[in-house]
């Protein structure tokens, strides 16, 4: 950035050749008849509005065309895994809030379930399971609302962002009522949840669902069907099915490439198996409606459609929830039996895996976090080359990266 712009043009040698032609992203052929120029290196980030935090992407650009991209991470590295080996099992729970801070409930759930996998014989009460699912799904809605809104911002539409935040605000108010925090909840604990729903809370969740179902139509019309938005995102950043699997993409990124895979259905945990058998929700899988299968539009579409499915899951839970205990029999000083377990759950961004190793003590041997953002953002490197600068922004936005999770 600090280099002088004029200098970057120095050393160019003129060339006149009719043979050299390249295909532009628009499909046209461009002939190299003018002065040949050097590529320029461009730092997108660590402080850049489109990188959703402090990711840095080193771009090599030829005018508007990106000829190479290299993401650099680590600006938000907070040593979560090292901390996990130094604090007690329960003390680590608040740290899980902080990696994907937009879906803290799901992170709590993933970590709790990984520890519970080691604690044989620990029964999670049914009401706690219900509350967990309600919170996790509401949080999924909130997270997808951010994804939808900020993707609009990346494309240049401001208004969807504010619409999305209006409903997210309500969602956060709901969480504030149940656990006292708005962003870093630490609500789902090992063995259950730490607080029962206050009186009237479940009714308010139901009202939220009613309103959200109406507002969702607005979201869909406002952005997803907008002609400019479609033009900007369709056929951009196409990830084929094979590529998606090879890169280990999960969640909406994978479903956006047409792979019908959702851990909630295919490897059911908690009560999801029961909910699926009841036919309460579906898994939206992209079909390449507006362009080729696996483009940015498809990924965004999957997220937008998933919000409605989450509402259905919440409604199912509201219909079936019954009074009861909210936390299992977990001692104050937790000693987790020896063993190791990997538990993956369906986070809004993909599979959040926790690999925990215990030697029977109060402190973990290893808490490995497989952050979906970390895996998903790796694909940008391969996608950006050959696109336009604006498309590069669209591609980063469509991965819905949360830097807290890539860097942990």
């Amino acid at each position: 950035m600090a280099q002088t712009a004029p200098d970057s043009k120095q050393g160019a040698s003129p060339s006149m050749s009719l043979d050299e032609a390249r295909v532009l992203p628009s499909g046209e052929r461009e002939f190299m008849l003018d002065v040949r120029t050097q590529d320029m290196e461009l730092n997108m980030g660590p402080q850049h509005p489109a990188t959703h935090g402090v990711m840095r992407i080193l771009l090599r650009v030829d005018g508007e065309i990106v000829t190479g991209a290299q993401p650099h991470l680590g600006y938000l590295h907070r040593c979560a895994e090292k901390i996990g080996e130094n604090v007690e099992w329960l003390q680590y729970l608040p740290y899980t809030d902080r990696y994907d801070y937009l879906s803290s409930m799901n992170n709590n759930l993933g970590y709790s379930m990984a520890v519970e996998a080691l604690m044989t014989g620990l029964e999670i009460p049914r009401r706690a399971q219900m509350l967990r699912i309600i919170c996790a799904e509401l949080n999924r809605i909130g997270s997808h609302l951010i994804a939808y809104g900020t993707y609009g911002l990346d494309i240049g539409a401001f208004t969807p962002f504010f619409y999305a935040f209006r409903e997210r605000e309500w969602m956060m108010a709901l969480f504030e009522k149940i656990c006292g925090a708005r962003l870093t909840y630490s609500y789902i604990r090992i063995g259950g949840v730490f607080n029962d729903a206050p009186p009237g809370w479940l009714g308010e969740v139901e009202r939220f669902c009613d309103v959200f179902e109406q507002k969702w139509v607005e979201y869909y019309d406002l952005l997803m069907e907008n002609h400019i938005f479609v033009k900007r995102t369709a056929d951009v950043g196409v990830i084929s099915r094979e590529m998606a699997l090879d890169f280990g993409l999960t969640g909406p990124m994978l479903r956006g490439s047409g792979v019908d895979w959702d851990l909630r259905r295919d490897m059911p945990y908690s009560l999801y198996g029961e909910i699926w058998k009841d036919g309460a929700f579906k898994i939206p899988v992209a079909r390449g409606e507006k362009g080729s299968l696996g483009d940015c539009w498809d990924r965004t579409w999957v997220r937008v459609m998933e919000m409605m499915e989450s509402i259905k899951i919440v409604r199912w839970c509201l219909a079936h929830i019954e009074p009861g205990p909210i936390i299992g029999d977990v001692p104050k000083v937790l000693r987790v039996p020896t063993g190791e377990a990997y538990v993956g759950i369906e986070n809004p961004r993909g599979e959040l895996g926790h690999y925990v190793v215990s030697d029977g003590g109060k402190v973990a041997i290893r808490v490995r976090v497989r952050g979906p953002s970390f895996v998903n953002v790796a694909v940008t490197e391969a996608l950006m080359t050959g696109t336009l600068l604006s498309d590069a922004v669209a591609i980063v936005g469509s991965t819905d990266v949360v830097i807290g999770e890539t860097d942990r």
Partner: protein, 399 residues
């Protein structure tokens, strides 16, 4: 410079040649003051008025933008400074003036300081050709709209200079996009404006306005020719691109280029670019109003012009003042109100578009400009010309 026409607001005084301020100053001049000093003062007053006008427009537009954006986005916008935040632009202006003036270390200092000045100056120049009422304007130029287009295009030079001088790659991107975009859209802008020019037969804003006075003040050009409405849509699209407004705000595009050519600017220099943007929006909207939507003409203007003339005498120095009737004070005030309302309606439309649509990509901008808008505007010109010819041929041109 505040000239008055052959139907003057006040009766002409001997020296000033129809210049209101000059006349006034000459009348009040003591013997010891030389005449050139009086003329210079009068020129300065006119410049001051133009600057004040731009600042007022920019201030009002920023407030309006925030309110429009706020209400589109389910919020209020500024609410605390004054009634519904109407003093917010003043608070912002004070803040911007008091901010530290930062010039980046590697920047080309001269160009960096010069470019906001060029941007604002070229717009001030363009403002000179804008008539505010039938009898009140800064400069009555025969090629008025031509002059406005030429002067506003000059702002591009300032923007390109700013991008280059900032010595930042993002700024360079912004300015190159601006240059490419303005070159692409200058063509459809000019050609689509040819359509009303064909109908009006004049480049002068006041004359164009006067030609739309029939039909109780509703004989606007847009109703005179079937090709006028498509031409206006093309004109509006080109204006959006020309003034860097969404969906054509690629030179700034916050999410891609940080802030484009404004990245390294701060404080009052930064605000100059914004004053230019809002003033340009107003100016283009006013031009659109003059050449498509009747200019000063509206049923109200028409009604005032029909009133019986009424004149009062204000004494030796100033002369007589017309209050009612054609060319009177009230007529001029209504005309000012009409054009300001029409221009801000255009500005509102631009804001509405900005807060509703995403941004388009640079190759799409170029494609739209060269492949669609330019040929379409040419078709419009051809169609309008043939229509006018046929009208004259078969109906004797009594449009």
């Amino acid at each position: 410079m505040l000239a008055v026409t052959e139907t003057p607001l006040a009766a002409p005084a001997p020296v000033g040649d129809g210049n209101l301020v000059l006349d006034l100053l000459t009348g009040l001049r003591p013997e010891s003051v030389p005449l050139w000093a009086v003329m210079a003062t009068s020129a300065l007053i006119a410049v001051g008025l133009a600057v004040a006008l731009i600042s007022l427009i920019a201030m009002f537009s920023t407030w309006m933008e925030r309110k429009v954006a706020g209400h589109i986005q389910c919020r209020y916008g500024p609410m605390h400074v004054g009634w519904h935040g109407w003093l917010q632009p003043i608070a912002d202006g004070v803040k911007l003036l008091l901010k530290e003036d930062i010039i980046p270390k590697g920047a080309d200092k001269v160009l960096f300081v010069l470019s906001p000045a060029i941007v604002l100056a070229s717009l001030l120049g363009a403002m000179a050709a804008l008539a505010l009422s039938p009898n009140f304007f800064f400069a009555d130029i025969d090629l008025g709209v031509f002059f406005i287009l030429a002067m506003t295009s000059t702002t591009t030079i300032g923007v390109v200079m700013a991008g280059w001088a900032s010595n930042s790659k993002w700024s360079l991107y912004g300015s190159m996009r601006e240059a490419a975009q303005v070159i692409a859209y200058e063509v459809p802008l000019g050609i689509s404006l040819m359509v009303p020019l064909i109908v009006a037969g004049t480049f002068n804003l006041r004359e164009a306005s006067a030609a739309q006075g029939g039909w109780y003040g509703m004989h606007w050009f847009v109703f005179q020719n079937p090709f006028m409405l498509p031409a206006f849509l093309l004109f509006f699209t080109a204006v959006l691109a020309e003034t860097k407004r969404a969906p054509f705000d690629l030179p700034e595009s916050e999410s891609e280029l940080v802030s484009g050519f404004l990245t390294e600017y701060s404080g009052i220099r930064w605000s100059f670019f914004f004053m230019e943007e809002y003033a340009a929006m107003f100016l283009y909207s006013a031009v659109g109003a003059f050449f498509f939507f009747g200019g000063f003409e509206s049923p109200f203007t028409w009604a005032v012009a029909q009133m019986a003339p009424h004149t009062i005498d204000l004494g030796e120095t100033i002369g007589t003042l017309k209050l009612l009737g054609e060319g009177s004070l009230l007529h001029n005030l209504v005309a000012v109100a009409t054009i300001v309302v029409k221009a801000f309606a255009g500005v509102f439309l631009m804001m509405w578009v900005r807060w509703s649509l995403p941004r388009i990509r640079i190759d799409q901008v170029m494609t739209l400009g060269y492949k669609y808008l330019t040929p379409l505007s040419m078709v419009c010109v051809l169609g309008a010309a043939l229509f006018e010819l046929a009208w004259i041929r078969f109906f004797g041109g009594a449009s």
